[in-house]
């Protein structure tokens, strides 16, 4: 009873600002979820063969046995949606979510807002694993082989970057960025070597990996990527509270009861899992993990649980939008999506770097 009374009394004393922050989080989450649904419907219907959003709803309804909206009027509409458009849209959603979440996770364990899989070389590390699988024709895990090698190589790259860029429990910006350059240089050489070794078809595929594209996404690929990403996102979300405490520094987090060593290992493995799953079939799509968490952090603050949820949604929206542009910006051409995200992400990264530098008073 007394506890309730105290709580009510204290509620009155709390200024309204936290509530407006909570409102902001709800608004943002609902907004992003709505944008995601609308974009899924629009993106699936847009292309050489136009299907209206309502007909897209009808096509989805028909497949699950619900007669809620009209079927696509075009005779090939239904088939085009289910064999070409939907797998691609689904891949964009899952991969966008994976990339944004992996970026947020890396930033949390590095304690540095500039950490991102593409920037520090984790993505190209994973691409190296995937390319080796193609060139050497590895199939030891069946159709999962590419995802497995992308994960293994991505994990090695993440561990390498982590070990090389940490000093005295901290990651300095300069060290992080320079480590990224070193890792990217090394994986770049590896990719060049594989391109040299491979035959015509393998070469084309490696080039495709480096550019990043969702062109040719198939359901078969989606069913490999989805479980990996789902597990990664669930674990990442469940770590949110401990990631908050980690921003006090490793020692302080430990004094608040966090098993920092375990948290770090799990976070690194999950990052590699998410990046590996994303890279396995779509190649290197950089900067999603940098731009999305950063923008959302500016809106709703750095608390990791709401940030993780909104980043998952935001990453999906961003990649879905980028893929729509990639497919439709130039008639009859499919632009590489990795190129698009880098066109926007590169300058953004530079701006962030300048801003962080100004705030830190140098390149410390």
């Amino acid at each position: 009873m007394t506890a309730t009374a105290t709580r009510t009394a204290l509620d009155g004393a709390v200024p309204t600002a936290p509530r407006s922050m909570a409102a902001r989080r709800v608004l943002l989450t609902v907004g992003l979820a709505t944008a995601l649904v609308v974009l899924v419907l629009v993106s699936a219907g847009t292309g050489q063969l136009y299907v209206s959003p309502l007909e897209v709803v009808g096509a989805i309804g028909h497949a699950v046995g619900l007669d809620i909206a009209p079927m696509p009027s075009h005779p090939n509409g239904y088939n085009a949606l289910w064999t070409i458009r939907f797998p691609r849209v689904a891949m964009a959603v899952v991969i966008g979510a994976a990339l944004a979440a992996s970026g947020l996770l890396m930033q949390a364990i590095f304690g540095n807002p500039l950490a991102e899989p593409g920037v520090v070389g984790v993505s190209s590390g994973a691409a190296l694993g995937a390319s080796a699988t193609i060139v050497f024709g590895w199939t030891f895990l069946g159709e999962w082989t590419i995802a497995a090698t992308a994960f293994a190589a991505g994990l090695s790259a993440t561990l390498l970057v982590y070990l090389m860029s940490r000093a005295n429990g901290k990651t300095e910006i300069v060290t992080l960025v320079l480590t990224g350059i070193a890792v990217n240089a090394f994986t770049g050489a590896g990719l060049a070597f594989l391109t040299f070794l491979g035959d015509q078809q393998a070469r084309e595929q490696i080039v495709f990996w480096q550019l990043g594209s969702l062109n040719g996404s198939r359901w078969q690929q989606f069913w490999i990527v989805l479980p990996l990403v789902a597990v990664g996102l669930i674990v990442a979300t469940s770590m949110s509270r401990r990631l908050d405490l980690l921003s006090l520094g490793e020692r302080s987090a430990r004094h608040l009861g966090v098993n920092v060593e375990l948290l770090r290992i799990v976070a690194i493995v999950v990052t590699a899992l998410l990046v590996g799953a994303a890279v396995a079939f779509a190649g290197i799509i950089a900067f999603v993990g940098l731009v999305i968490p950063h923008l959302l952090r500016m809106i709703i603050g750095p608390s990791h649980l709401p940030l993780m949820v909104t980043s998952i949604l935001g990453g999906a929206v961003l990649l879905l939008g980028a893929d729509l542009v990639a497919r439709t910006a130039v008639p009859m051409a499919d632009l590489p999506i990795g190129m698009l995200t880098s066109i926007v992400g590169g300058p953004f990264f530079f701006w962030l770097l300048r801003r962080t530098r100004r705030r830190a008073g140098g390149w410390g």
């Binding site: 200024p15 509270r241 908050d244 520094g249 302080s252 430990r254 004094h255 608040l256 009861g257 952090r297």
Partner: protein
């Protein structure tokens, strides 16, 4: 009352009896890269007392505190908390038993002051004491005089404000043992006194408090006991009148001092022996 609730209550630490040893560090030896940082240093802090660790730069004060908190691996010696060897504690239980304030109070992302102080309540999640969260946070904000800053983002604060936010987080943890590493370093005169007054109150209420200090006068005015370290060894351990003596201080710090007794409060005052103040008149 449900069984689950009783089970939760059983996991909570028992309060320490006044005078019971809260921290016992015995014969601590720490070597880093072959260099001896602590050389058979011992420290005992009892419930209900405020112990100040003093000594010149590099004497090993922070290392001794880190050895007690488990941040620093020991080359030799043992540490017990509340009579239980430190290796038998789980991280979670430890976090409910003792709070640690480090010198570095930086936060890597722009959390608000209130969010940072709330983090101090993390060890009590899913225990009956979770009900105290809001009161503990508000008390800590008020005690450290940062209630007006609760919506501010920590990276935008001044060094002293950030230090107080760090202290508030540690106070909100509401543990029976408090370990503070130079909590006054970035603070102005008034807030230095506030912090020591708070530490003093916590000790009087029955908590065990250990504070690393540089200011000998603060140590002399507030501590029940002073532990003086020099080159990794404890050279004196006792009430301020026994530790703050001209001979000892000069031997350890290499600076001649005079020890005065304050005319009204009776506190020990340490004054370095300085040349006569410059008065503007040229020497003849």
């Amino acid at each position: 009352m449900s069984v689950a609730l009783t089970a939760r209550a059983a996991a909570l630490p028992r309060a320490l009896e006044r005078g019971e040893a809260a921290i016992e560090a015995e014969d601590i030896v720490v070597e880093i890269d072959g260099k001896t940082i602590l050389d058979h240093a011992s420290l005992t802090v009892r419930a209900g007392e405020l112990v100040a660790l003093i000594g010149p730069n590099g004497a090993g004060k922070s290392t001794l505190l880190a050895a007690v908190t488990g941040d620093q691996a020991l080359t030799g010696g043992t540490v017990s908390l509340a009579g239980v060897p430190s290796e038998e504690w789980s991280l979670r239980e430890l976090a409910r038993r003792r709070a640690v304030l480090l010198q570095d109070n930086g936060v890597s992302f722009p959390f608000t002051v209130e969010q940072v102080v709330e983090m101090g309540r993390a060890p009590w999640r899913r225990t009956p004491r979770e009900d105290d969260d809001e009161a503990a946070v508000l008390d800590a904000l008020l005690e450290t005089d940062i209630e007006h800053l609760r919506e501010r983002r920590v990276p935008s604060l001044s060094g002293g404000e950030r230090a107080r936010a760090g202290l508030a987080r540690v106070l909100a943890q509401r543990t029976g043992i408090l370990l503070l590493d130079e909590p006054t370093a970035a603070l102005d005169l008034r807030h230095q006194e506030d912090v020591l007054r708070l530490a003093r109150e916590r000790a009087q209420a029955g908590d065990a408090v250990a504070v690393v200090l540089h200011d000998l006068n603060l140590a002399g005015a507030y501590a029940d006991r002073i532990v003086l370290l020099s080159a990794g060894r404890v050279v004196a351990d006792g009430p301020s009148a026994e530790v703050l003596t001209p001979a000892l201080i000069e031997a350890v710090y290499g600076q001649a001092v005079e020890i005065l007794t304050h005319p009204t409060s009776g506190a020990t005052v340490v004054v370095p022996v300085r040349p006569a103040p410059y008065t503007g008149k040229a020497h003849s």
